[in-house]
Symmetry: C2
Subunit: 176 residues, 2 copies
């Protein structure tokens, strides 16, 4: 049910997705949406929150703390790509909204971004590079979803190659 809303939001954006359309797509009637979520903002927030939580959970459980840095990063990247692949609506929304400074979602979203940035900053010891790397991942994921065909591992390797020089030399992973 949130899923229908997510698809509508992802496909048309917040404003062009009407509550009537969402209700119809979800197979229920509009007042039900209001009953459950209070308002359109509420519905959107619920969806964004769920998506964000799902992504974070998926990345966190891939990140086994005891492994060396390069392996942890690789696992995180794969988790991220898998999420983007399997929940393309959620990923689209998160990506699109992650720099929309207006609205009460800003708090939620910038918090998510912040957490990812912190994970990466901790890994790289370089805040600027962490943000650049995050952007590389996002952009690459978008491109990959629009032009599928390459296996996920290969995409992940592109990112790993970018990350290698920034990892402490001791943490480097030899591939191939």
């Amino acid at each position: 049910m949130l899923e229908a809303a997510g698809q509508a939001f992802a496909a048309h954006g917040f404003h062009e997705a009407s509550m009537d359309a969402i209700a119809q797509a979800a197979g229920i009637s509009k007042p039900m949406l209001y009953n459950y979520f209070g308002s359109k903002q509420g519905l959107y927030a619920a969806y964004v929150e769920r998506s964000g939580r799902a992504l974070m959970t998926s990345m966190r459980e891939a990140d086994s703390r005891s492994a060396p840095a390069a392996q942890r990063l690789h696992a995180g990247i794969l988790a991220f790509l898998t999420y983007a692949e399997e929940h393309s609506s959620g990923w689209t929304i998160l990506h699109r909204e992650s720099f929309a400074q207006g609205g009460p979602l800003a708090a939620e979203l910038s918090d998510l971004r912040e957490r990812v940035a912190q994970m990466l900053t901790a890994l790289f010891n370089d805040e600027a590079f962490a943000h650049a790397f995050a952007g590389a991942g996002e952009s690459l994921a978008s491109w990959w979803l629009a032009h599928p065909g390459q296996p996920k591992e290969q995409i992940a390797n592109v990112l790993m190659d970018i990350a290698q020089p920034a990892l402490g030399p001791a943490d480097r992973l030899v591939r191939r």
Copy 2:
């Protein structure tokens, strides 16, 4: 005059920026906007087009064809950062809209993105990496604008460091 529109669009997004508000901010009346631009879409398109053209021009004229690859890249990055710094509204709009697949702007925007991607692909001989690199630049620029303080050259160097391994060994530039 387009400037007022741009600021409104950048601050509130396309839908929340009302024509009345834009007209007032521009110091003219609403029918004048319609006289010049035909419609809200038209106004938006005009602004996006102008911004895109300005960015491309600025990057292109920094790109002296005869220089080695690393220098050309460096010049392009600086031009890009300068544009983002000086036309933050334009940059915000371009960045936000560059993955909004809906609307007639899609053509314009994906064309711009395509051209940048092609320039980078030509440089790196690797399409996936080119998109990742573009995303890194965008994300880093956003972060930099939100957290100023570091000099532009330092930001550019972060990107250069990412690019180095992907440039042909012959093209590498020794820094510092």
